[in-house]
Symmetry: C3
Subunit: 347 residues, 3 copies
């Protein structure tokens, strides 16, 4: 489907320098783009690729210029690109209905506009909302609720009584509602006695959960992922965690039990957060941070026993000079001792 | 099901201050609890919630007092809570039998008291013990043994010949018996030549394995998880690892090949342990530790190239002062040089 | 199947000290081996086990001697062992054909020599190559290509349009082609607007992907795992990453978006690599490294903001002496101040 450039400019609310009648047939990265394609330039690291691109049009931020290509100036080229990407690559349409080979308990309720594909499993008491799609191998446990327009990809698992809001995306292999990790040690056994995990996990609307990401059910009450939060692959969210709305948890990050994250928190990859903490609104943490204490709203932290990110970077670089510093201090000590001895021996 | 408080007190072997005829209908956290519920107070961090709770009864440790609520004094409130949680939230009963839609090879043996649910797969030669439950999408490979009362949750996978003991719980998406990661480099290829992973993985009795946790099969012989050990979500246990009994591996921890962990080892989240090591009985490691050397029984370690945990904490905090220290040492050097020069010039 | 030792020696191109007519019935580790078995000795850490082994024959490197056992001298005992392991433990043969209980779309093309087992799912437009095996619960999405002799283990998932080369092994629970993690923030929502992930993921020939490992599809274009690369369990490969041929990514490592790894790169466990980086051919990184900058070909790095590995090790050990160093510097400062004061007061 070709679209006139002017139409795309209107769609993203941009300002055009170039020919609005140009036909754009698809989107591409700056390096791969050819005539007829539109690209975007939002990271100055790619200036060279921008200068050399064969795209017919490029989304750019204010004040960016280049000859020989149509420029669509917008406040945020990435956001504009996101909107166009949904236009050019719409969600695959899946015909509704319960397919042959789907295993749906007669006591489940599947909205007639929803699709349950071959090899998907829906248990008794489950509720599948309008236009939801349950892909093959996905499992919807007893009394689970799946909201409208939500998608469970292949082999995603939502366990007993858990709740998935509207427009959520659960990627392949993700698990919602496995038991939290709770035991009490009985020395007389000896044994680790299981604490029943009787709560649920609840994803609010517009949550995305990455492949093989895990959100455990609460011991009591709810583990909650707030509206519009996005969770990457292989992330661990333990029992009774509350993640506020619009937060971003990058791949392989882990949040320990009962910790609360505010709104708009952004954690890099492989971050670990200890249990029973409060992480304020808008906190950002560098990749591989280990957060062991409460963090105030708005702070950006990094490192082990994570602290201010700029201080952390300086410290992390200073560590490299530590072996040399040890030697230096030893030498200073020697020189001071010499001075002290001379003093003593002085008349 | 309401139960008299006196009955619950007897069940946990506690001492009651309050009215034993009180009826308790369920359990709840201190903050959420209402009249008719029992809660527990084991972490002093929650003293304020304890003082304000609306629970009718609270499990407390020795020497804890508060008016206006029935107190059940026990040595270990968490352990007592664990026992009561099993009373109030018993394991879901699953009707036995091989369900319609289950794919069971005619050469598998399924105990008549076991349940194999729709969409579960059991291969030839597999053995499913009494009262075991195989949930939808779970896979029991050829010649696998599943012990009595064990549960494989949805989409859990146990591969060829592996052995799962009695009363084990394998959470959704967990994988037992994938190939260990073993290759030999052939420069003449060049190629990484696969070393056949011909051994098995064995979970002893009472093991719990978290969602998307992986226990690889051995190259030769067995990878073993000892009796009563509990493994959290997204943990990696490599080929030929031996984990002793009653150990605890928190989420996203990884144990490299052939390493042996003793009994009662506790590793925090995101810990890494190098290969071919011996980690003694009762060793504890802080979250995100990197263990690169053998650790003696009873030690508690932390940090990179993990060492004594208290020293590690001091060092981790000291690192923050490193940039300042570098400046300071430069300044001392200058002052010493001044003193030395004056000395030289002195008569 | 017993084999004459002379035949095994010929198979690995070794030199025999001992009786070539000896019959070998299987392989075993040095400690477990008994008469009739062959073992290998490649890690000097196991010298004691080598000296005490009951194996009938042992693969050894040049210059290794011991009496009472047949020795097969080869350049690389591990590589020789790998070759013999494939001889003694050949891949399980799976009868070809689409089994009863397999869910294969009529518009998929399955080579007649391939096997699709009960509970496996193959969608419309998918192509399953000669001798490929799709195990139960594995999912082959629409228009996916699976190359000849490749194996998808139970509950592995390959999503729409992705490409798997020849002789690949996808272990249980692995996911190829989930959406990359890409969003643009719209403050006017506020909302994270999804960037359509319209590209694919492609595994070249001879790739192995561990249990619950994830390779995301590209935003545009391809995420690529190069020929002969091996990826361990629970590894994350983000959108648009290129991994060169013959690379090794150990368990729980994560590569962020658009980063390029060269040929023969070896990353230890739990390594994190930031986005948009170039990691040169043959780079090696210690476990738990955090790579935040481009790394030149041939370098070996370690640590946070990873740098030269030897320097890193020295620094990591020096950190332990940091609390003591802080005290020491304070003391030196005091002593210098004393000297300075004396100077001032001097006549």
């Amino acid at each position: 489907v070709k679209k006139a450039l002017a139409e795309l400019v209107a769609h993203v609310g941009g300002r055009l320098q170039g020919d609005g009648t140009l036909l754009i047939d698809s989107l591409a990265g700056l390096e791969e783009a050819r005539a007829g394609q539109l690209s975007f330039f939002s990271n100055t690291k790619y200036r060279r690729a921008f200068d050399a691109t064969h795209a017919s049009a490029v989304l750019v931020g204010p004040g960016v210029h280049r000859d020989g290509v149509a420029l669509v100036t917008v406040d945020d080229p990435l956001l504009a690109y996101a909107r166009l990407s949904q236009l050019f690559f719409p969600k695959a349409l899946v015909a509704h209905g319960v397919r042959k080979g789907a295993l749906v308990d007669p006591e489940a309720r599947v909205d007639p506009t929803a699709a349950v594909l071959a090899g998907a499993i829906v248990e008794a008491g489950a509720l599948i909302g309008p236009r939801a799609v349950i892909h093959p191998g996905a499992y919807v446990g007893p009394h689970v609720q799946i909201g409208e327009d939500s998608v469970l990809h292949a082999n995603a698992t939502v366990l007993e009584r858990c709740i998935v809001g509207a427009r959520c995306i659960l990627h392949a292999g993700s698990v919602v509602g496995a038991d939290g990790f709770g035991f009490a040690f009985d020395a007389s056994g000896p044994a680790h006695v299981k604490i029943a995990q009787a709560g649920i996990a609840r994803l609010e609307d517009d949550v995305e959960l990455g492949a093989c990401a895990c959100v455990d059910r609460a011991t009591l009450g709810e583990t909650v992922i707030g509206k519009g939060s996005k969770i990457d692959n292989l992330v661990q969210v333990a029992h009774n965690v509350k993640v506020g709305p619009l937060s971003i948890l990058c791949a392989q990050t882990g949040i320990s039990g009962s910790t609360e994250l505010g709104a708009g928190v952004v954690l890099g990859g492989q971050v670990g957060v200890a249990n029973h903490l409060k992480i304020g609104d808008g906190v950002r943490a560098a990749a591989q941070s280990g957060i062991a204490h409460d963090v105030e709203a708005g702070a950006t932290v990094g490192g082990t026993l994570a602290f201010d990110v700029e201080n952390w970077k300086r410290s992390a670089l200073a560590v490299r000079r530590l072996p040399e510093l040890l030697k230096e201090v030893r030498e200073l000590k020697r020189r001071i001792t010499v001075l002290e001895k001379e003093k003593e021996n002085a008349p």
